[in-house]
Symmetry: C2
Subunit: 219 residues, 2 copies
């Protein structure tokens, strides 16, 4: 369902070109659970941004469900990102002026163009341990791990076919980590493709395959 | 060197008062290496903000080196924070418009009121694996783990007596984590007090004592 063909990402800085991705080719089948591991600065988040269609390659092709995303119209690209891909960012990227509840509701509103009246938003927040009182806080009024869990809930609200998780349990204690990983494993069993960056070997155990990356290349 | 006497931190929200710290008393001796552990949302970062003089208690007293910090003038409080305490934040809090190098240099400039010509800044960056090319990047041009390492270097530049680290290796691979932890252990052996929040049992092993916190209270 995801294919990268000789993808390069080069940042042209004054101090010299940075080859964040240096010719990456890989294929991920529908329904896989893939862990991406590698040293700090090796290109994992850059790779996730390519897979998640949040960035364009300097060279090479990214295909999602067979389509070269470089050829899609803005409208189709937006629809693909909104409906098919759920993204849990390394730094969460929650919207500061919205409450936790509104942050999770937002992708739902974008998709259906009306507010949530199904109870789905709070049900998802409950499943990551954020009760309705906590859901009324803004991100700056939440702990690091609470923000991370809101980011998880937000990624799931449109029931995406592909889940991209950049260190989804980095700020969580072991008990809460296990709950989140069980949730991701469950979503994978339902047929969703899960791609997860992690530094933690125990977390990588949930995956059926591990990809190692080093200096912008697949090892 | 650090004493908290029945410290409370209450956030009065519309949905109800949040008792982030619910009567915390603890003493940390000079030269200790203390790990603070507990579930997500239990009050660890709030506690660190109290110890680091970045926040005031709703009730209770915080003493640093015997002084009640609630009685210090703004000038003395600023000097204490600048000269005695190094802080590695959970979300790094680097200054976006400055390069990595400038971010690390900043506390030095604040203290000495002139730019660094000793080579100290780059030496520190090298010790956390950030070479001079990478040091010219802005935070948004660095990976998560690179930003974390810049935050470590910044906390150390004024050689503080007290080091507060909120999940200092959360975004790092195991090899880089070990390097950072060895560095902190070394600084502790030199006589510095290190207080570290961590979710990782292996990281807590570096400490000589662990404090467990739950629902804003020491367990
Ligand atoms: N500004 C605020 N207003 C209201 N509540 C807050 C505010 N800041 C923090 N809280 C609440 O205080 C509690 C403690 O937060 P804190 O950030 O100290 O937790 P933590 O132990 O560091 O958690 P984590 O491991 O997830 O980082 C949380 O329940 C949080 O929602
Ligand atoms: N906007 C940018 N401009 C220049 N270089 C960049 C930019 N963004 C990232 N880089 C560089 O690209 C490389 C890969 O970054 P990336 O964020 O993908 O690493 P990572 O594997 O996710 O690391 P970590 O484990 O620390 O999160 C790094 O060396 C980084 O400094
Ligand atoms: Mg990353
Ligand atoms: Mg915290």
């Amino acid at each position: 369902v995801i294919a990268l063909e000789d993808v390069r990402k080069i940042y042209p800085l004054l101090s010299g070109d940075v080859h964040a991705l240096d010719g990456v080719s890989l294929t991920i089948e529908k329904g896989e659970f893939v862990a991406i591991m590698g040293p700090s600065g090796s290109g994992k988040s850059t790779l996730m941004n390519q897979i998640g269609c949040l960035d364009v390659p300097t060279e090479g092709t990214v295909r999602i469900e067979g389509q070269d995303i470089g050829t899609l119209s803005d409208h189709d690209l937006t629809a693909l990102r909104r409906d098919s891909i759920g993204y849990i960012f390394q730094k969460f990227n929650l919207i500061p002026l919205l409450t936790a509840y509104e942050n999770v509701e937002y992708p739902l509103v974008l998709r259906h163009r009306k507010y949530d009246d199904s109870g789905r938003v709070q049900a998802l927040l409950d499943s990551v341990g954020i009760d309705s009182a906590l859901a009324a806080h803004r991100p700056s009024e939440l702990s690091g791990g609470q923000q991370q869990r809101v980011a998880v809930a937000r990624a799931l609200v449109n029931e995406p076919a592909i889940l991209l998780c950049d260190e989804p349990t980095g700020n969580l204690d072991s008990k809460t980590s296990r709950q989140i990983m069980e949730m991701l494993a469950d979503l994978n069993r339902q047929g969703r493709t899960v791609i997860m960056v992690t530094h933690d070997a125990a977390t990588a155990e949930y995956a059926n395959r591990t990809i190692q990356i080093q200096d912008g290349r697949i090892a």
